[in-house]
């Protein structure tokens, strides 16, 4: 519980930075809404992309700060490194997903005022579940990246490439009933990958975050 509270307080302390990112994302998403992209692309770019980007930013801020200020050292006196990292990932992906849901809802409604006729409850739940598990996996991968790569420039370059790929995918593919009939297998696969990455956390030495 202490670790969750710590993450919440930390996010609160970074609210200006996070708000700025949300506004910038709003502008990008608005561009796609007014430029007549398909419902599928709008759904992907309007919901998944903002959620993922916020999640990545939260993880990056949190890990970089704790490494620089050596607060990891303090936390490790009471908790193991995997539990500190997993709680961090869970908190960031949860907040990222909430923001993604809100973004998705607003953009989709904006595009389709009668969206309940287009999007069924099954699809909606599928979108939400998939978004959450994707964010969990991504936050774990990002955690490894931020722990093992020390150069900020390299990290930022990787992030830019990664985000560009996600947006390009979003412009090409989208959401429809057929795709979301695979939510179960997709979600299970992603969860399995997440469990593998979580297992890898056990092999990270404390020295990686302390020195």
């Amino acid at each position: 519980m202490a670790l969750i509270i710590k993450e919440i307080y930390f996010m609160k302390s970074q609210w200006k930075k996070n708000l700025l990112t949300i506004v910038a994302l709003g502008v990008v998403v608005y561009y796609f809404v007014i430029n007549d992209y398909s419902n599928d692309s709008i759904m992907f770019i309007g919901a998944y992309v903002p959620g993922m980007i916020i999640c990545m930013q939260l993880i990056q801020n949190s890990i970089e700060f704790e490494k620089e200020n050596k607060t990891f050292e303090k936390m490790l006196t009471g908790y193991s490194l995997p539990s500190v990292l997993l709680i961090k990932c869970a908190a960031c992906s949860f907040v990222g997903s909430i923001i993604g849901y809100i973004f998705g809802y607003i953009t989709f409604l904006n595009k389709n005022p009668y969206s309940e006729q287009i999007i069924t409850l099954k699809v909606l739940i599928g979108v939400l579940v998939l978004m959450t598990v994707i964010n969990i996996l991504m936050s774990m991968i990002m955690t490894l990246l931020f722990l093992f790569i020390r150069q900020t420039l390299t990290i930022n370059l990787i992030l830019i490439v990664f985000i560009s790929i996600i947006i390009l995918i979003g412009m090409g593919i989208g959401v429809n009933n057929n795709i979301f009939s695979y939510v179960g297998p997709c979600g299970a696969g992603i969860l399995l990958l997440s469990a593998t990455v979580a297992y890898l956390f056990r092999f990270i030495s404390n020295d990686k975050v302390v020195y």
């Binding site: 050292e73 303090k74 490790l76 404390n206």
Partner: protein
């Protein structure tokens, strides 16, 4: 005996030896000093005791139990104040205190005690990064000791402080000593050690080369 460190040896990868056969102990109710130059291994010893770093050989006992076998909750009876203050600088003092109160499972009463004792009431709503070094150090001490630990380890607690803050912190440390609590302090300032400690260990290149009883009436 509160803490007993027996024959600790530690090497970094590549065979570089950091600690060589380190032995010392701390009784409850005493303040013990660890003095040595930068790089002598003072902080490493603290990290090992707090369970953050691992060592290759030797044993450490805390209240009779091996430190490696302590649960997370038991380990929280050992508090560490690192040389870098380990605070969340973008958060307010109040939020930092909240985080560490929960971390150490402390009560609001303990938190209030620390706020009063370290004179933090007027700065609770200020962000840590906007405080002076002395104030930050007081907040860091409050955060470390809010859980009423049995063993407190302080890495250079008075370094870089002005005279007023140094006095406040020294007075606070002296006021905290009780029959249940032991305090380990590292420093390279022998004057601080003389004022605070009952015994001092001198650490040189990872080895304890001398143990001194401090005579408060001058000299040792």
């Amino acid at each position: 005996m509160l803490l007993e460190v027996q024959n600790i040896n530690m090497e970094y990868k590549g065979g570089y030896s950091v600690l060589k056969d380190v032995n010392f102990h701390i009784e409850a109710g005493e303040i013990v000093g660890l003095i040595g130059l930068n790089g002598a291994g003072k902080s490493t010893i603290m990290r090992i005791i707090s369970g953050v770093s691992t060592y290759q050989e030797g044993k450490i006992f805390f209240e009779g139990s091996q430190i490696k076998k302590l649960s997370g909750l038991q380990r929280k009876k050992i508090a560490i104040l690192c040389a870098s203050n380990n605070l969340y600088e973008d958060m307010t003092v109040a939020d930092n205190l909240d985080v560490f109160t929960r971390f150490y499972h402390a009560s609001n009463l303990d938190k209030q005690y620390m706020i009063d004792k370290l004179d933090l009431r007027n700065i609770l709503k200020r962000k840590v990064k906007k405080l002076s070094t002395g104030m930050q150090q007081r907040v860091a001490i409050a955060c470390s000791m809010v859980g009423r630990p049995k063993l407190v380890m302080m890495d250079e607690p008075t370094v870089l402080l002005d005279f007023e803050n140094k006095c406040k912190i020294i007075r606070f440390i002296q006021s905290q000593i009780s029959p249940e609590i032991g305090i380990l302090i590292t420093s390279h300032d022998s004057n601080d050690m003389e004022e605070l400690c009952k015994r001092v260990y001198i650490l040189k290149q990872g080895e304890i080369v001398k143990e001194l009883e401090v005579n408060k009436n001058g000299g040792n």
